[in-house]
């Protein structure tokens, strides 16, 4: 059981990004929120990525933007995964009308044009990082919920869970003691997925002017760059507009590589369950998941 080379590449890229976000302002202590040089400088010794139209250093903004993106991504990812897991577990464990209700809720939330609703909601709430995070959580919990629900519903019927139940184990005990080890990879995968989606959506929303204008998140830098009238006719786009975009792409690709290699490691075609389950896919998926669980439960059954 080893990660593929692309998985290690993803981890490496991710570590670089996180280190830059954490220690960037320490290594490169130029202020991001005031003018530190003449406006519209080309990249130079003092300003490796030049300055924008107000004389703000672009590299310093980029580093702080990384911190914002990773905060938003992880904040949304962790909370959405936890909330989604809780919902999915309740639906799968209790079944019946609770299951019906929660899963219809998932279907309905999946069915609406999410990005547009996010935009309108954020516009109503007003530009602020906290609002952005809240709105993103509101539309990110469905994928973990669906994943965890289907696994819980299946695991619930396993003998070891039935045995624990017959001894009087409550749902929380069953979850932490018996289900969590089996569900952990799925939760990890949903964490990666929701994090990367949140980073992308936050950038998109800031790009449309829904972010906090005083915070240089990556989307906001792009917005400022495109608002500069001569951006089309000069070279400035190369460092001003391209650098935040490349940063987002860097993080997104790192997360995707990691996601795919973990997915391949456990043999769960998680990607399939992001869409509506139809009969054929569900059976295929069950087989894939069953195969992975047998390999991991140490029962020695190898298909």
């Amino acid at each position: 059981m080893r990660l593929s080379w692309s998985g290690y590449l993803g981890i490496l890229m991710l570590v670089v990004a996180i280190l830059c976000a954490l220690f960037g302002s320490w290594i490169y202590p130029t202020a991001y929120d005031r003018s530190t040089g003449p406006p519209l400088q080309r990249p130079s010794q003092d300003h490796p990525l030049g300055t924008d139209d107000l004389g703000f250093d672009i590299l310093a903004q980029l580093l702080l933007g990384g911190r914002i993106s990773i905060t938003v991504g992880l904040g949304v990812g962790v909370s959405a995964t936890l909330i989604g897991s809780l919902i999915g577990f309740s639906a799968g464990f209790y079944g019946g009308w609770i299951d019906q209700l929660l899963m219809r809720l998932v279907d309905i939330t999946f069915g609406i044009p999410q990005f547009l609703v996010m935009i309108v909601l954020a516009a109503w709430l007003g530009p602020s990082l906290n609002h952005t995070i809240g709105v993103l959580i509101l539309f990110s919990w469905m994928m973990p919920a669906r994943l965890i629900r289907s696994s819980t519903a299946r695991l619930k019927e396993e003998w070891f869970v039935k045995a624990a139940r017959s001894y009087g184990a409550g749902p929380l005990y069953v979850f932490f003691r018996h289900l969590l080890p089996q569900l952990a990879p799925l939760m990890g995968l949903s964490l990666i997925r929701t994090t990367s989606r949140a980073i992308m959506a936050e950038a998109g929303m800031a790009f449309l002017g829904l972010g906090d204008p005083s915070l240089p998140s990556w989307g906001q830098i792009m917005r400022n760059a495109l608002a500069f009238p001569a951006i089309w006719h000069t070279d400035f786009w190369r460092w001003w507009l391209l650098s935040p975009q490349l940063a987002i792409t860097w993080v997104a690709i790192a997360l995707a590589l990691l996601y795919r290699s973990i997915d391949a490691l456990y043999g769960t075609e998680v990607a399939i369950s992001e869409q509506k389950p139809n009969k054929r896919h569900t059976t295929e998926r069950r087989e894939a998941e069953g195969c992975y669980l047998q390999r991991n439960s140490g029962s020695g059954i190898v298909r």
């Binding site: 609406i112 547009l116 998109g204 997360l255």
Partner: protein, 322 residues
């Protein structure tokens, strides 16, 4: 899941959306009227009489139940209120702009599905070879590349540097076309870059879906039978394989419309394209709430309809899904 069940679910989705649309502006902090009157550009002080006038003008002095009934009445008759910024009927404004977005999203989806299916089948055919692996890696990366990066690169290289394509807009302003084809050509010329951007951003997922489906199909027993019958590779791939692989591709394409529209909002802003997305951003910046609601309603109705269509097509095309 049975067919009426699905229909009911889509109906429910729309119902929830319509209700949210009614409740949210009233439930969120802030007086809807004050936000309507005090836009960012102008802050006006109202006398008590003026306030009363506007309250009754927008029907906000009536009890909630009555407002709710009126809201549904408006929905059913296609009356979505008036845009504050554009001083125009929301319904006609949105419908006029919708055409451009449909053009972008439609051609983007078509292009990406076509190329994705071809590349996906090809990669599945020589599964495990270096070609498959390189393509897979490249397209996984492409699938994660944000639309704005693809758009920016295309815009600056093909648009600003090489001058092959216009930098924005949907038509040349103040141009007089001698003929119908000339106008069409101009529209296509303007749409080319945004369409290619959207198509590229979706190509990755389209490729992955068709490749995975094709790999699964190629391992099915009827494919072995076809091989043992001595049918040539081309027949097997296109006649037996592709037929089976197309169903999920078609349904997935229709159900991915919601995501596509999200991407279209960003692309339209980058290319200053006069579609729904551009309109939405103007509405957001001007705090034009009726317009935002209208856009949201129209797009949700179209997305839900497309999802429904995808499901129905799946039933029709693939008897196994029934």
């Amino acid at each position: 899941m049975s067919k009426p069940h699905r229909l009911l679910e889509y109906g429910l989705t729309l119902f929830v959306l319509f209700n949210l649309n009614f409740i949210l502006p009233r439930a969120l902090p802030g007086d809807p009227l004050l936000t309507l009157v005090n836009t960012d550009q102008s802050f006006s002080v109202l006398t008590a009489e003026q306030l009363d006038y506007f309250t009754s003008y927008y029907g906000l002095d009536e009890p909630l139940s009555r407002q709710y009934l009126k809201y549904w009445q408006g929905l059913l008759t296609g009356e979505l209120g008036k845009s504050i910024y554009f001083k125009e009927d929301v319904a006609s404004l949105v419908l006029r702009r919708l055409g451009w977005t449909v053009l972008l999203v439609g051609s983007g989806i078509l292009l990406s599905s076509l190329v994705g299916v071809i590349l996906g089948s090809w990669a599945a055919w020589c599964q495990g070879s270096w070609f498959d692996r390189a393509l897979y890696f490249f397209l996984v990366c492409l699938a994660e590349t944000p639309v704005f990066l693809i758009g920016t690169l295309l815009l600056f290289t093909l648009g600003a540097r090489l001058h092959w394509f216009p930098l924005g807009g949907a038509m040349t302003h103040f141009a007089s076309y001698g003929s119908r084809p000339g106008q069409l050509l101009d529209i296509l010329h303007h749409a080319a870059l945004p369409v290619v951007t959207l198509a590229l951003s979706r190509l990755g997922s389209s490729f992955l879906l068709s490749r995975n489906t094709m790999v699964a199909t190629l391992n099915e027993e009827f494919m072995h039978t076809a091989y043992l019958k001595g049918l040539p590779g081309k027949t097997r791939l296109f006649k037996h394989g592709l037929k089976n692989c197309l169903v999920p591709v078609i349904t997935r394409t229709l159900t991915s419309l919601g995501t596509m529209i999200g991407g279209a909002v960003l692309v339209e802003n980058l290319f200053a394209y006069p579609g729904i997305g551009g309109l939405l951003q103007q509405a957001v910046l001007a705090c034009d709430y009726p317009l935002m609601q209208g856009i949201l309603l129209v797009t949700s109705i179209s997305v839900v309809t497309m999802n429904l269509l995808g499901d129905l097509l799946c039933y029709r095309l693939d008897p196994r899904a029934r």
